[in-house]
């Protein structure tokens, strides 16, 4: 990729993906914008060294490294390690859950927050797979990991999220709320147990 036209096309095609990844990784819109701009400028500076075929994994690799650097800078500034609560709330407010209720909003917020708390490389892989809908091969190429490793890390990352969610479910149960069969908050836990009799 060497000319301006190709670069403009690449920016138009990939800017949302890069920004989305950075936003989900960092949980802060301003930082995500900075990272996105930095990544796209780096693409221009390295345009002679990046082939069109490897553009997506290259961009995500650079974006991920930039996000990790930004995250470390945030830590050294003694900010909240779990990410900016304001940004987390913003992310939650933008979702349109079909059965939107205050309790499910809290649940969604906790899930987003839990993603932010994941360690690397689980965090990157969960974001790339679950939020960016990338294939295992694309993730492996971006992070330079074998396919089986990507799957193992993805499952471990989601398991950690489930564990943090389980604690939340217990908290809701203590508050008199239960978990529906589909996992949302609402009915009492007893009804969930009853439903599970006929599950699978």
């Amino acid at each position: 990729m060497v000319n301006l036209e190709q670069y403009e096309a690449a920016v138009a095609e990939h800017r949302d993906r890069v920004f989305g990844f950075a936003l989900h990784f960092l949980g802060d819109r301003e930082e995500a914008e900075d990272v996105t701009q930095d990544v796209l400028i780096r693409l221009w500076c390295n345009r002679d060294n990046v082939a069109i075929e490897t553009l997506t994994p290259w961009l995500l690799r650079v974006a991920r490294n930039a996000c990790v650097d930004q995250y470390r800078k945030r830590r050294t500034r003694d900010q909240n390690r779990e990410g900016s609560p304001d940004a987390t709330e913003k992310l939650v407010s933008q979702t349109t859950a079909p059965d939107r209720s205050m309790d499910n909003d809290i649940l969604r917020e906790q899930i987003v927050k839990s993603v932010n708390e994941l360690r690397e490389p689980y965090k990157s892989i969960v974001v790339l797979r679950e939020m960016q809908q990338m294939t295992y091969e694309e993730i492996g190429s971006a992070l330079d990991l074998p396919l089986t490793t990507v799957k193992v890390y993805l499952h471990r990352g989601r398991r950690k999220l489930r564990e943090s969610l389980k604690k939340l479910y217990d908290d809701f149960a203590d508050a008199g709320l239960g978990v529906n069969q589909n996992g949302s908050i609402g009915a009492s836990r007893q009804s969930v147990h009853a439903n599970n009799q006929s599950a699978v």
Binding site: A12, L23, H24, W44, L161, R162, L165, G183, S184, H193
Partner: protein
């Protein structure tokens, strides 16, 4: 201990089961336990719900000003590269072209002068008309080159252009009717 290890085995495979990534043997073993374990069923449902929530995350659009800023930088950079590539090369090319032309024109003039002087001394070699015609042709060529050089000098440094005025003075500034000034004569500008 064995029970704990056994529970861990299933717990570690909940997400893989939800994604359909278990091997055939593991999948059979997992389903056998799932049919009888409410806890495992709950884990599977929570894992499915979690995956659904994550996958339903909104698609974030990059703010337009980000890409506008980046493209502006790239366009400016690309334009600067083009000017750097073409600019000096054009000057050098122009300079070399005009220098070459000037040298050729000056050489032609001197050749004409030499011939004319030879002809003056040996009037049998060239007729006066032929000499006049040759001189006029040389003067015209020099004027053409000097005009062009003057124009080029506005774009490039004048000291890059070999001085034409010397040759111009020798030929164009003359007091004789035939337009030719003999070098070394009193009217020769160089002797002023």
């Amino acid at each position: 201990m064995k029970v704990e290890t056994d529970r861990n085995w299933y717990d570690e495979r909940v997400e893989a089961f939800v994604d359909g990534d278990l091997s055939r043997a593991d999948d059979i073993r997992f389903r056998e336990r799932l049919s009888s374990s409410k806890e495992l069923q709950q884990d599977v449902e929570q894992a499915r719900f979690l995956a659904a929530v994550l996958r339903s995350s909104p698609v974030e659009s990059c703010p337009p000003e980000i890409s506008q800023r980046v493209l502006a930088i790239a366009r400016r950079d690309a334009g600067a590269e083009e000017r750097v590539d073409r600019g000096p090369l054009r000057l050098v090319t122009k300079r070399r072209t005009w220098r070459s032309l000037t040298i050729v024109a000056a050489a032609a003039c001197f050749a004409v002068l030499f011939l004319v002087r030879t002809g003056v001394n040996d009037s049998e070699s060239f007729s006066q008309a032929e000499i006049d015609q040759a001189l006029n042709d040389a003067k015209f060529a020099l004027a053409l080159v000097s005009d062009a050089s003057r124009d080029a000098g506005r774009l490039i440094r004048l000291d890059a252009v070999p001085p034409v005025s010397h040759a111009m003075g020798l030929v164009l500034t003359d007091e004789r009717s035939d337009g030719f000034e003999v070098p070394g004569s009193a009217a020769d500008p160089l002797n002023e």
